[in-house]
């Protein structure tokens, strides 16, 4: 299969970024929006074409999807250890291409309406293109180092876009926080990469992922603290992934990242960048599964399950609708991690892997839709807070309907997209680990409850009096909403298990009716509770808040994790480590260098009197020098 056109997919956004970035002042805002959208349209078309060619025409050989790569050696260390640059086409990368290009296209169209009149319009589209380029590069990476490079690039573009409103101190702080937290996690990732490079002698995914390959067999080569070194490397790589995917306890940056413009939240912090962590684990899945009987995979499963529950509980109490969605994203990412964690490898055993990727796919659609819908509401009301909203269904019918579709999809109501993927995750969890299954069901209920809490809060609830009656958003914003709503309804019917599975062979997926019924029932109970609590204005929710008392306060403050981190960094790290080191640096390191400089100046001040400017002084010095030299030559250096 010819994959040379796959290289164009990331290159087009890069080109647009360069054009918009270089001619930033010369391009009219109206033009830059079209340039961005048109470029994305081409990338989108190519991605769909690639997916069609790969999945339906000629990606398979003997029923197994092939990994096709095209690469050149970039840096050579030894014959086996070299860093390549290239593109790798396999089921998950093609699936991610479709996700990233679809969501990017929708968000760019939406941004043309949402960002209208903003002074940095062109800059915004340039950043979006940079992000899209980096994300394409990440999913197409052929080896660990290439993925790491693009991993950092998406981090940078996320930093730029969170801090887009750079005059707002909270946005600046959020951007820094996101960058530092993920960077901290990436440190683990880098160490993991280096360990893998050292022990297996390769960075290449295709070599690393052969189930019977040397990379996986070499795990016995050494152990550290009771675990093999390769397991440690995988756990460290997972820490990198957990940082990007906002897993507990590295989740603190994601809610704050909502300071960025809403389209950015939809693109980066809901659908694409944050799933990079899940993608990374999926990319190295054979390693996670085979090295030391999948110990690292167990870590993934428990961290994912805990994050899912933790975030869902917090999401119930938040009043900023974007933060509710942020915690919801974290919770759903936990779901995907959990699914990977309980997955097997061959045939139907690998249902968790399939389910995780399926959920990634469907979640991207409906979560982007939720964010874009929230953006539409915020655009109309000019507030992020639930208290400023209510009864909006009369003013914004289209937003109302599309938001409802997304909310039903995330709650797992059949036959929408979320139902199918969530069901598969729960099936996988049920077969492997009952505890994780219970957590999954509980989270499903909580998800339905909190999402309908904000849905009723925004579109029903109290009849808020608005100063200016809110208006439905322009067509450029509602069009993506409608398209995404359509996708949220239909993508669940894609027979995902035949396309994407851990061993790439595919299997026949089927619905597990009892489990599906339980999950749906739990979801409906959550929706029902939200209906009673929030459909009409009443004090039911307040009474429950009182019943929970202290627990509610804790949850409302996100279990004080921000404060805990601030305490650890400011009070302990900065005070006891950073300040002494900074003092030493200023006083002694800088002091030495400054001392040398100051002494030189002082000395030259002293001797500059010699330069009198009088001709005779110089002549005298010259003559006496000649005389002294002559004496030396005559008396001391005779021969």
């Amino acid at each position: 299969m010819d994959i040379s056109h796959a290289l164009l997919i990331p290159m087009i956004p890069l080109l647009i970024f360069l054009v918009l970035g270089v001619f930033y002042n010369k391009i009219k805002p109206a033009v830059s929006g079209y340039v961005g959208v048109m470029g994305m349209l081409v990338s989108f078309g190519l991605s769909i074409y690639t997916a069609y060619q790969y999945f339906l025409v000629n990606g398979q050989i003997d029923g197994v999807y092939q990994s096709i790569s095209q690469k050149t050696v970039w840096m050579r260390f030894t014959d086996t250890l070299h860093i390549d640059m290239g593109v790798l086409i396999d089921p998950i990368s093609v699936m991610m291409l479709v996700v990233v290009s679809t969501i990017s296209l929708m968000v760019q169209i939406y941004s043309r309406g949402y960002m209208k009149g903003d002074s940095g319009y062109t800059k915004f589209f340039a950043y979006l293109s940079l992000f899209t380029f980096s994300m394409f590069g990440l999913v197409l990476a052929t080896n660990l180092f290439q993925i790491y490079i693009f991993w950092e690039l998406v981090g940078v573009s996320s930093f730029l876009l969170i801090g887009y409103y750079y005059t707002k101190p909270s946005a600046v702080a959020a951007a820094k926080k996101a960058f530092i937290v993920t960077r901290f996690a990436d440190f683990g990732f880098l160490i993991g990469i280096l360990i893998i490079g050292y022990y297996t002698g390769t960075y290449d995914f295709e070599t690393l992922n052969q189930p019977d390959g040397a990379a996986i067999l070499s795990w016995t080569s050494g152990s550290f603290m009771g675990l093999s070194i390769l397991t440690w490397a995988l756990i460290l790589i997972f820490i990198g992934g957990a940082g990007k995917s906002a897993m507990f306890p590295l989740h603190i940056w994601l809610p704050d990242a909502m300071e960025g413009p809403t389209p950015v939240s939809a693109l980066i912090h809901a659908a694409t960048m944050v799933v990079a962590g899940v993608f990374l684990v999926a990319r190295l899945f054979p390693m996670y599964y085979f090295v030391e009987d999948g110990f690292a995979l167990q870590v993934v499963a428990y961290v994912g399950a805990f994050s899912a529950l933790f975030a869902a509980v917090i999401a119930v109490t938040q009043t900023d609708i974007k933060r509710v969605l942020a915690f919801s994203t974290m919770s759903q990412l936990g779901y995907m991690m959990l699914a990977l964690g309980v997955s097997g490898y061959e045939g139907h055993e690998g249902v968790g892997y399939t389910a995780s990727m399926f959920h990634l796919f469907t979640h991207a659609m409906f979560k982007a839709l939720l964010f874009l819908g929230a953006g539409s509401v915020i655009h109309a009301v000019h507030s992020n807070y639930l208290k400023d909203m209510g009864g909006l269904r009369k003013f914004m019918p289209l937003t109302n309907i599309t938001f409802l579709v997304a909310a039903l999809a995330i709650s797992g109501v059949p036959p929408l997209a979320g139902f199918w993927s969530k069901d598969e995750i729960l099936v996988a969890a049920f077969e492997q680990n009952k505890l994780i299954y219970l957590v999954g069901v509980l989270v499903a209920g909580l998800t339905a409850f909190y999402i309908f809490r904000i849905y009723f809060g925004i579109f029903w609830g109290k009849e808020t009096q608005y100063k200016h009656p809110p208006q439905e958003s322009p067509a450029s914003m509602t069009l993506p909403l409608v398209i995404l709503a359509f996708l949220s309804i239909v993508v669940g019917f894609i027979p995902f298990s035949e396309f994407i599975s851990a061993d790439k062979a595919g299997f026949e997926g089927h619905l597990n009716y009892p489990l599906a019924a339980i999950a749906t029932a739990v979801g409906l109970v959550g929706i029902g509770l939200a209906y009673f609590f929030y459909k009409k204005e009443n004090d039911l929710s307040d009474r429950f808040v009182h019943a929970f008392g202290q627990f509610y306060t804790w949850t409302f403050h996100k279990f004080y994790f921000d404060e805990l981190y601030l305490f650890i960094t400011k009070k302990i790290l900065f005070k006891n480590v950073s300040y002494p080191i900074a003092y030493f640096d200023k006083k002694y390191v800088d002091g030495t260098m400054e001392g040398v400089g100051n002494k030189t100046v002082w000395f030259s001040e002293k001797i500059k009197k010699i330069q009198s400017g009088r001709l005779q002084d110089y002549a005298f010095a010259f003559v006496s020098g000649v005389v002294v030299l002559a004496l030396i030559f005559v008396y001391f250096l005779k021969n």
């Binding site: 500059k608 330069q611 009198s612 400017g613 009088r614 001709l615 005779q616 002549a619 003559v623």
Partner: protein, 105 residues
């Protein structure tokens, strides 16, 4: 050539001439006097060239030609120096060394 005069006497004279020039160059306060002192130094060396030529290689003329060369260079140099001094005088109405201290640090 005066055969009675030995190289020793001639060298004494040129050395005296040279150091008179050096002394004048260092002690004179006037730029014109300094220029004259430089001329003395040059003439001392020219004399040396001529005498050494005569004593060592009487049949050749390189020393004499070199001395003419030096005289030409000295003339050019003097013209330049005088031009500078005249310009200086126009600017500060003085040719005293003490007044030309602008080169100081």
């Amino acid at each position: 050539m005066i055969t009675d005069i030995s190289l020793y006497e001639v060298l004494t004279i040129t050395t005296l001439l040279f150091f008179i020039g050096v002394y004048g160059f260092i002690t004179r306060k006037n730029l014109i006097s300094m220029l004259i002192s430089v001329e003395l130094i040059l003439n001392a060396s020219v004399l040396n060239f001529v005498f050494f030529n005569q004593y060592l290689y009487p049949e050749m003329l390189q020393g004499a030609i070199f001395s003419i060369f030096i005289i030409a260079v000295a003339a050019a140099e003097t013209a330049l120096a005088v031009a500078i001094i005249i310009n200086l005088y126009r600017k500060i109405s003085s040719v005293e060394v003490a007044d030309v201290e602008n080169m100081k640090y």
